[in-house]
């Protein structure tokens, strides 16, 4: 079967196994020379790829328990965040941490230790997980939690599937009064203003900025900063007060085929970014439903096809707080000068983070999309050296191309700890992805 990540680069062929239960999985694992788990394939690069055997959790997706009094869910790792919301929102529960798409699996959310717009207050996905079971290469199923096999538990967050196949997971939801977010939008004329807006919103649960990365000069870093809180009942308008937990399903669009890649040239990207900035309305107390606030891109299925068949690469880095301004400025200048526009660029502020290979650290993170072309990789290498110079790192779940030296340096502090756990679980190095082979993980 032909497989790729969400960016469509790289592509590979592998035997894909859609297991339904642990018996079937164990059989497959014992026969495979190397393997890696795969959820919804929303990681951008090669984290969920392997050219011999890919174990898909798409059919390993049953809910096992839902305690609607305590907001605790137990399910198999192929259940998606969208499905969790479907069973819980009407009862007043929501995800504690959610990435910018709900079409990811619980297993994928753990393996990438995903973050949301509330990382500065609530941390990464690990903060809501109580326990999980893990199939390791020996065929054994290991129970992991903060009190049992804690090293394996923590190493699996951000471990990119390299500690084993995550099986049954128990996690905690948060209580909400409504399915709506009360949002404040601020136009920031440049990077300084944007960072000041994040500082001001430090006590607000959610904050994020869309940044126009083709703006330059005085407007470098021009952005639209959005902050939000779960709306309480009394903030709702009268017509939605009666059913505060119900959001009418919206029509979805789909990109039916790959668009020609020339469509996204400098001009169209520039136009889009300007439009986004000028059309964005500044204001307070705007009410938006959770889908529009958290998952604006999910309403267009297969939006990745707008980049054409060749695909695209996402570049997401984080820089320590003290270096963030200088580092981001250099990065934005390089991009602006290269003219290789990013269609979507997102800026977020992270809080402190513990862990093994988890991506976040206290500081700013910038995520950019680049359509694939012959000049791209040399630009990205320049960005790598800036990130390296300012002691930052790149998010593995978005990566498709960084080199092993840069990786080893930027994850230096946690890498050996991680490899110790991995060696113990996987002495024959059977758990492998194209990414882990490239990075020597």
């Amino acid at each position: 079967m032909s497989l790729s990540g969400w960016g469509g680069y790289p592509k590979t062929k592998a035997k894909a196994i859609f297991f339904r239960d642990t018996g079937e999985l164990t059989r497959q694992v014992s026969e495979a020379s190397s393997f890696i788990a795969r959820g919804m394939g929303r990681s951008y690069g090669d984290s969920s790829l392997n050219n011999s055997c890919v174990l898909s959790t798409n059919r390993y997706n049953r809910f096992l328990e839902f305690d609607s009094e305590a907001g605790i869910v137990k399910c198999e790792s192929g259940v998606t965040l969208a499905e969790v919301i479907d069973i819980s929102i009407n009862l007043g529960w929501f995800l504690k941490v959610t990435p910018g798409t709900k079409f990811v699996s619980i297993g994928g959310a753990i393996a990438s230790d995903v973050h949301g717009k509330n990382h500065h207050l609530d941390g990464s996905f690990s903060s809501c997980v109580n326990s999980f079971s893990l199939l390791v290469p020996s065929g054994e199923v290991v129970n992991c939690s903060r009190s049992e096999n804690a090293d394996i538990f923590f190493a699996s967050f951000g471990g990119m599937g390299l500690t084993g196949v995550i099986l049954e997971v128990e996690f905690q939801l948060i209580q909400v009064e409504s399915a709506y977010i009360s949002q404040t939008s601020i136009k920031a004329a440049n990077l300084k203003e944007a960072m000041a807006a994040f500082e001001n919103a430090k006590e607000t649960t959610y904050s994020v900025a869309w940044i126009d990365c083709l703006a330059n000069g005085d407007a470098l870093g021009r952005s639209l900063v959005m902050a939000g809180e779960h709306a309480s009942i009394n903030q709702l308008s009268t017509n939605i007060k009666a059913t505060p937990l119900i959001v009418k399903p919206k029509p979805t669009l789909s990109v039916p085929f790959y668009l020609p890649s020339w469509l996204l040239n400098k001009l169209t990207v520039k136009a889009f970014n300007q439009l986004y900035y000028y059309k964005g309305k500044a204001g307070e107390g705007q009410l938006v439903d959770y889908d529009s606030f958290f998952y604006p891109l999910d309403s267009i299925h297969h939006w990745n096809r707008i980049y054409g068949r060749k695909g695209f690469v996402q570049y997401q880095c984080v820089l320590p707080l003290a270096n963030s301004y200088e580092g981001l400025k250099s990065i934005l200048e390089l991009i602006s000068a290269s003219g290789q526009g990013s269609f979507l660029a997102v800026l977020k502020l992270f809080g402190k983070q513990e862990g093994y290979l988890s991506f976040p650290m206290e500081g700013y993170t910038l995520a950019l999309d680049f359509p694939l072309n012959s000049r791209l990789f040399s630009l990205l290498e320049k960005l790598d050296s800036v990130v390296s110079q300012y002691d930052g790192r790149i998010y593995l779940t978005k990566d498709a191309r960084m080199n092993s030296r840069f990786f080893a340096k930027s994850y230096e502090k946690q890498l050996n700890r991680f490899l110790d756990v991995k060696k113990k679980l996987d002495p024959d190095n059977k758990l492998r992805s194209l990414q882990s082979e490239r990075l020597g993980l």
Binding site: R20, R62, F63, L64, E65, F66, D86, I87
Partner: protein
């Protein structure tokens, strides 16, 4: 009041998809299977997702004698009955060993006929209901690679047509489902052409629509109707020479 669907052969992948499809529309479920305790995880899942009632029953389609007692002891006569029981068997083994052959014939034909006979009488008496029989395109024309399975399915297709004709006046509708290739555990070892192969969820969606719209024969995916039209129209003197 919410409706109830009975799914016979509830462990199959298509059955699981049909259970989700109907449950998402508010149907309560009666799930029949051999070793029905293995359905338990799936039951919790269905209840959590759709907040419906689900009951499991131990049932063997080859235990013909038990069928009347079984139906009489049901707590509730369902609105819709779907039979998915079937077995591809191994053509080569079936043509050489009678036990293997008999098992294919009984699992695809006699067994489903036995249980549907009893249920049909009940629905006829009540004058309301729908019976869905999952047959196969393999029953449309016998081919050397699977004609024992195919002939049992052909018999089942004819049975369903007759039943539909008989029950028409009693307000009981019968749907014949003829899947083409479906990605399930039955076909997991085959290399199926991707474009012609349905996911179980697509089949389930088609079945739900067919029940609502009272279709008589459903080919799923839809283009199999035309593929089979062509296959059926090949003259026998040519067909017999083909290696199909």
């Amino acid at each position: 009041m919410s409706k109830t669907i009975m799914i016979i052969g509830a462990k199959s992948d298509i059955a699981r998809a049909i259970a989700h499809e109907f449950a998402s529309k508010g149907y309560n479920l009666q799930l029949l299977a051999r070793k029905s305790d293995s359905l338990l995880k799936g039951v919790a899942d269905l209840k959590i997702r759709y907040r419906i009632d689900v009951e499991c029953f131990e049932f063997d389609v080859l235990d013909f004698k038990s069928h009347t007692v079984f139906v009489n002891s049901l707590p509730l006569l369902p609105d819709v009955v779907v039979s998915l029981v079937g077995s591809l068997g191994d053509q080569h083994q079936s043509q050489n060993e009678w036990d293997a052959c008999e098992s294919v014939l009984d699992t695809n034909f006699s067994g489903p006929v036995s249980i549907l006979n009893v249920l049909a009488n009940k629905l006829e008496e009540r004058k309301r209901g729908t019976i869905v029989g999952v047959s196969s395109v393999a029953g449309d024309r016998g081919r050397q690679s699977n004609y024992l399975y195919g002939s049992a399915k052909a018999g089942f297709t004819a049975y369903l047509a007759g039943l539909r004709n008989r029950l028409n006046k009693s307000n009981v509708h019968v749907v014949t489902v003829k899947p083409g290739f479906v990605n399930t555990s039955m076909t997991a070892d085959m290399d199926l052409p991707e474009r012609l192969t349905a996911q179980a969820e697509q089949v389930a969606d088609d079945v739900y629509q067919a029940v609502i719209k009272k279709k008589n024969t459903l080919y799923t995916l839809w283009f199999w109707r035309y593929i089979m039209l062509i296959i059926k129209s090949i003259p026998e003197f040519i067909f017999k020479k083909l290696s199909l």
